[in-house]
Each structure stands twice: as C-alpha cells, then as structure tokens.
Symmetry: C4
C-alpha cells in the first residue's frame, strides 16, 4: 500500500470536492478494514457535497486498498457519472436509494461484519442496544428479508434500484438495517460517525450474543439509547484520531 | 506514536511528581490498550503522591496515545487544577469519588472490556473468581445500576460527583464494580496492580462464560480467593516487565 | 521467509508448467496460512495443466513456508514422479482420488480449520450455507466417517488410495466434505476459488455456530445457494488482490 | 528482545549441556508464548541430560523473555543447585515430582491456557480427544483438585514437594492433567513434543467446547486416540520449523 499522504492525494477527476472529505473517505475504508468490519467485500460512501443527489464511492476494490484516486462519483441512478469509469460495486444501488429516501443521511456503510450476521438470520433475537456505545441501535434493529421483494431464488445481493429502495424502506428512520443471510447497512450524518456506528454495531452484537448465552440481558431503554446516541457523537474526535493512526501504521 | 523515552519524559506542569510514577502511568495506558482492556475509551488514574485528595489522569485522549505531557492534576471536585487545562474526560468524577471514599486505593481503571460487560447486563450470573489469577474478584462482584440513582433516561455515564459517589458506594470494599450497560471500574493499591487486575478481570470473565456454557463451575472459595489475591501481588514484576516491552514494541 | 519474487521463481524440475500457475499455488499456500485455514498442517494442490491425471503439491512442509521449489509432481497413484523426490505428505491420496473421480475439479484443499471441525463431530448439526458468501456449501455438507471404510482403530488419516477413494465418494458432487474428528476437504474449478471456498467455509461455520446459539437460523434455500455460488465467482479478483498483498507483507 | 542467536548462546553455568537442547528449551519458551499457551506465567522444563534426577528450568521470568542465560539447574528437591541462583518459580515442585514419578517424561509444561481451564472447573465435562491432532489426550483427562491434599484455603499453587507429588499421582500415566481453578500440566518424551501437546491441548479444548455447544460430539475411541498419538509424533519437524521461525520474527 502507498502511505497515507499518497493515498489521500485528491485526484483530478473529482474537482470541487474538499480534500478533507476525500481523506476521511479513504481513512474510513482503511479503518473499517483494520477493524474487521469489512474484509475484501463491503463499502462506504458519502453524499456528494455539491450535488446532493450524487454520492462518492470507490470503484470495485477491496476497502483496505482504496485510495482517493479510486473514488468515483455516482448519479441519482447509482451509476457512475464518468463514461470511462472503471468497474464498480454491484450493490451501489443501496447507497443511492438510501440517499434518496433519507435526506439526513450523509454516509452509508455496507458490511458483512461477522458478529452482526447471526442476528439477521435468527428472527427471535433482534439486535438491540446493550451498552451505551451503541445507543444508536435503539430497542430493535429491523431486518431486511430479500425474499419479500424478490423471491426465494436470488443471490441475496442488492442488484437494482428496486431492491435498494426496498432496503431503504425497511431501514426507515433507523441507523442500521440487517440483511438476512448477507450483512448489514449502516447510516450516519457524516463519515466518521458512520465508521463509529459500524465498529460499535459489531461490538454490541458480540456483547449481546455473550449476554444471551449467560441469561436474560437488561437492555437499554429507548430513552437511555437516545441519550447515549446523542451524547456520544461529541466524542468522535477521540476514537477517530486513534483509528486513523492505527489504520496507516 | 513517539517512542517510550519521549512519551514518559516528565512535563514541567507536574513538578514534584516522581518521574517513575508518571512513567508507570504512561506505560499503564499503553498496556491497557495493547491488551484490549480499553479501546479509544476508558482511562486510568493514580492518586497524587503529595496531595492525597488530588489525582493524576490524562486529558481527553485515547489511552493508546497518552504521554506524560497529557497527564493532568485534578482536585477533590474532580476538576483540573490548571485554569488552562485542555479538555478532560467526562467521567473523571468516578475517580475522584472513589479516592475520597477508599483511602487504600491508589489507582483506578475504568474500562469497557468486552468480556466483562455481559456480566453486568445479566443479573442472574454474577462475575466471580474461577481461577487463582483473579482471586481479587472474590465470590461476588457488585453491579452498579445507574437507574437507582439517576432514573431510566440517562446516557449511563458518570457525569457528576453524585453519580461518582453512588458508584463508589456500590464498589464498597471490593476491587471491582461492574456498571450495567456500560463497563466496569477497578481499583488497586498501586498502578501496576490496577493494570494486573484489569487484565485478569477480563480473563476471568472469558473463562467464566466458557465454563458456564459447559456446565456448573466450581468457583474459588472466599478463602482460596483471598489467599490467591494476597500471594499473586508479589509476582507483579514478572508480567509488568513483559507488558511494558510489548506495549512499546 | 524469502520475499515473494524469490518464492514464486519457477524451479527447473517442473518444465512446461506456467509460472503464473505455480505463483498462484505458492500464493495460495501463504494465504491459507495467513487466514488460519491451515496451521503447520493442511495442503493445497492443483491438477497438472498438461497431464490431467497428475497433480502438483508441495513436499512435506508447513504451507506458510512453501515456495515454488518445493512443489512436486504426483502421478495417478498419488506418488511423486521423481525418483529423488523429497518426503511428501502422508495424505496425498485424497488429492489423487478426488482428481480421478471429479474431472471438473482443478484444485483441492485439505485443512483442519478450527471452526469447521465441530460440524464434522456433531451429527445432528449439518454445516450448510447461512450467508451468500458461502452459497457453494448448499443445504447440507456431507461428513466422511472413516470408521465406515477402515474401522474404529485408525489414526483418522487418509493413508491409502482406498481411503482417498472412499472420501471422494462421500464428497460426491459437493464442493466440501467434512472429515469426522479430522478436518475437511474442499474442491473448486481453480486455485483461487479453492482458496475462496476455504476461507468462506471457515467463516460460514463461525456464523452458523453463533446463529445456532441464538436460536433457529434461516438458512439459504438451494436456489439462493446456487445463485450466490454462481455469481460470487466473478468477483474473485477483488479478494485475491488483497489476500496476496497481505500474505507477503 | 535479543535476536535468536544471542538468546540461545549457551551460558557458562551449564557446562556439559548440549547447545541444541538449550536452544530447543529457549525456542520452546518463545513458541509457547507466541501461541498464547503461556502469558507472563507458565513454564517449561527439560530433564537434565546427564543427571536424570535434575532438571533445567528458567529463573522466575516471563517465558516470552527467556534466554539460555536464564536457564537454571534444579536438583531432586526442585531447588536450584547454584548457591547464587536468581529467584525461581514458586511452582518448580511440579516439575521435580513429575520427573521423579515418570521416568519416561523428559519435558514438562505448566500453563494457564485459556481454553483449557474451563474443563478443569466443570466436572461433568471431561476434556478428551475430539480430533486426531490431540490423540494423546485419550478418552479422559484427569483433573487435580488441590482441596483433596491441601484443603479449601490454598492459593491453588503447587508450593511444595508434597503438592507436586499429589499432582504427579493424579497425572498417573496420562500426558495431561488439568488443575481445577488454575491451569494444566503437560508431559512428553521430549521438548518439542511437549510444545506440540501444549498447542494441541489448547486447540482440542476450543473444538470440544464449540462441539458441545452444537450437540453431542463423536469422540475418538481409545484405539483411534492411541493410533493418532503414535503416528503424529513422526511429523514434529514440520510444525517445529514453522513455530521456530514465527517465534523469532
């Protein structure tokens, strides 16, 4: 891998996008990989700062290898705006359709984080906040079942605008939606908080599985979850500084 | 990160504090991070060696990045003594109130160690010593429920002297108190033993969860726990030497 | 370890074998080790590109240390073709007999991956696909019980052509066969896909065990599994590029 | 840490001991640490090659830091033979008493390996071989309960020849004995096999715990275990070469 200075250098094909935003998006890709939120699969996007119906997302590449030069601009149809764009992720539609439905969302993460997937497979155990770091999960995380929109013979991927819209509908006003037999999608008002939520969704799932094996957990109330989610956002600089260092060392 | 020699260099704003104590506190921050006791959150303090109603604690910073220059002095109200102090941890009050109530305590660790949290969430499974390295846990670790002092709508953080005092009361004469939906706080007669207890509280929780999945554990008796806790202290130099090397390599 | 350029340099004893194929086989050994699919034991082979009843496999060596110079050619009897061949793996027969029975198979992995073994030991819990990355597992992975062909006093190893043939028979047309009290064997139409399937068999087993502890999983239907298996193959370049980099860094 | 060449250089205080044996003992300390069999605690000894009622064991030091200069010679009373010996491990008696009782044993490992301890705590779940790599465990691993020889108020450590002899009696003719609330002790006919058995006892415990969570495991028969244990010994060069490289890299 190139070092960070090279990796975050703004490419000429994204004029007008603040270098700091691109750097955050590149850092985010590395951090998510370093924290095992994504492996060779999974992706993170940010809403375009100038054209709010567009978004920025890497070309088809493992997140751990993404540099600013790999970032592409996508239009409202989740297709790349450049005619000569390189191959892109199959599941880009989930980003576009969430940005369309949720004006408050500025960043979207899609991952196959291992601790989270079981909660999308076992219906009787909803994922929910068991500790203050994951208050944003609230008292019940919705699960998207692709069979409801596309039947029982799909490859489980979000391959069209219609499937993306169905996922966005199940996400509703939540921060996280699980995808049965597949993974999860996480949204936030900025890139750093999207990374934060991805890391602590994973942590919460691990804690909740362990707690359920011990007995009956005391979950956060909706008010506790809301208060914790509201207040933790102000602390984002602390983990981000650490995560960025770790990701490039 | 700077190397250790730079990181432990005593800053001018802490005159009269022995460089060895500061070095131990900086090492402790790194060791706790290296052992996954803390992530970007969590903190460790030491009672001030000259003013016993004061304590030393890093500014608001991830423990893995703390150097001696980041250490601040706090007064009996858990506020920094310097007028121009940098931003500090929200939960500093738990340190101050424990030092007030427990004259025997010289060091306090607050963490969100993953294996420990489930035991604070599931009431029917108290954390207790299952092996000799964690004799200091005794036969039952108390759990602090913030709802009892502050109701069901908090963000679960210790944000005031009152909440800190309630936590200290639940700690009582124990070495560890769990905090429901949040983490734990661990105390000891010196920094190194506070780190030791933090690492082995985490280890004991992992063992106990695995043992409970297998069947009915044979726990340490109170006498066994006391004997083990008493004798292990004399061995602290052995792990400390290893942990310090690992933390800076 | 030598660096990659040295490790993949084609040896003189394998004339006519494409350097790219040897490089993939060396990379595969390192990647499987890096991902904890194999430890000092386990092996990966490829069908010989010119003599389809022959195959290429390392001499008796830990996979993490294999270079192109260690690769040997084996004949239809699973014995090395060179008279002066170095010591070879005891279990080479499983490779030869699978290549004989399954003309579609071009690469075979044998491993003791930790998460997979329990599913070969506990008969009431068949391993099967719980997420789209492991669609190739289908709705039931067969288990080979060596007692059926060789009695209750073996060392569980595949030490003969007969045992290899019995394993190949149980594999049938599947991609994976578990071996009770031993490990598993995984086949694919090329080296990279064999590595992919090995990594995601391990991942699926971890997810399935966690899901089963939570409750009743929703498994992939046969159609979902088939669709996922069919489509994921086209994405192999993405993980391979990452895995190769990681394996040599 | 010094590099390997320095670490294994034979010290003047052990004349007549083959440098290869000392190098194996130093390597073994590092390997056990690298594989999380030991942390700062635990130790490995070898019977003295010239005086069979003596043994070689490090001074009181974390295994990950041990060099040949740290190795001490101990007599039949498990006390160091040099009058000016540095501080030694409290539990040296378990080594001496096992060497006395078991002439076939040439090396002894004592560890607190995390996956193993739960099987010593929960009586209804004996540790036993679930896969061929751990055939040496047989069909039931004995558990030493210190309360039977020393009552319910000990610190669980083996602090005397009497306690060591009681442990050796419970070990009997087995390869492994668990120690309730403490750890385990593992014996073998040479250093490398002692390390091998330590690593695969840990692996077997992990597999068995996972399998028990899934359902009823099929265990190895005594004959399978014996055959596997007998045959695997001949393969020790393969893992040792890898482990040694890893331990010093």
């Amino acid at each position: 891998m190139p070092d960070r200075a090279v990796a975050v250098a703004p490419p000429s094909h994204l004029p007008g996008v603040a270098p700091e935003l691109l750097a955050d998006l590149v850092d985010a890709n590395r951090i998510l990989f370093r924290h095992d939120v994504v492996d060779a699969f999974g992706h993170i996007s940010v809403r375009h700062p100038l054209r709010p119906d567009h978004f920025l997302l890497s070309r088809n590449l493992a997140p751990g290898l993404v540099t600013a030069a790999d970032i592409q601009e996508f239009g409202p149809d989740s297709e790349p705006v450049r005619a000569d764009a390189p191959p892109v992720y199959l599941e880009r539609f989930l980003h576009g359709e969430i940005y369309r439905r949720r004006p408050d969302v500025m960043s979207v993460v899609h991952s196959h984080a291992a601790s989270v997937i079981p909660f999308g497979i076992v219906h009787e155990r909803p994922l929910r906040a068991v500790f203050h770091m994951a208050g944003f999960l609230g008292t019940k995380v919705p699960v998207f079942e692709i069979r409801q929109c596309s039947g029982c013979a799909t490859d489980l991927l979000i391959r069209s605008r219609e499937q993306g819209a169905a996922l966005a509908a199940d996400l509703g006003s939540h921060s996280v939606v699980l995808m049965r037999g597949h993974g999860c999608t996480i949204v936030a008002p900025d890139i750093r908080l999207a990374v934060f939520r991805s890391i602590y969704t994973k942590a919460n799932a691990e804690l909740q599985a362990t707690a359920l094996a011990l007995g009956q957990p005391v979950y956060l109330t909706q008010q506790e979850a809301d208060a914790a989610a509201r207040n933790i956002g102000g602390q984002i600089a602390r983990p981000w500084g650490l995560w960025q260092r770790e990701a490039w060392s």
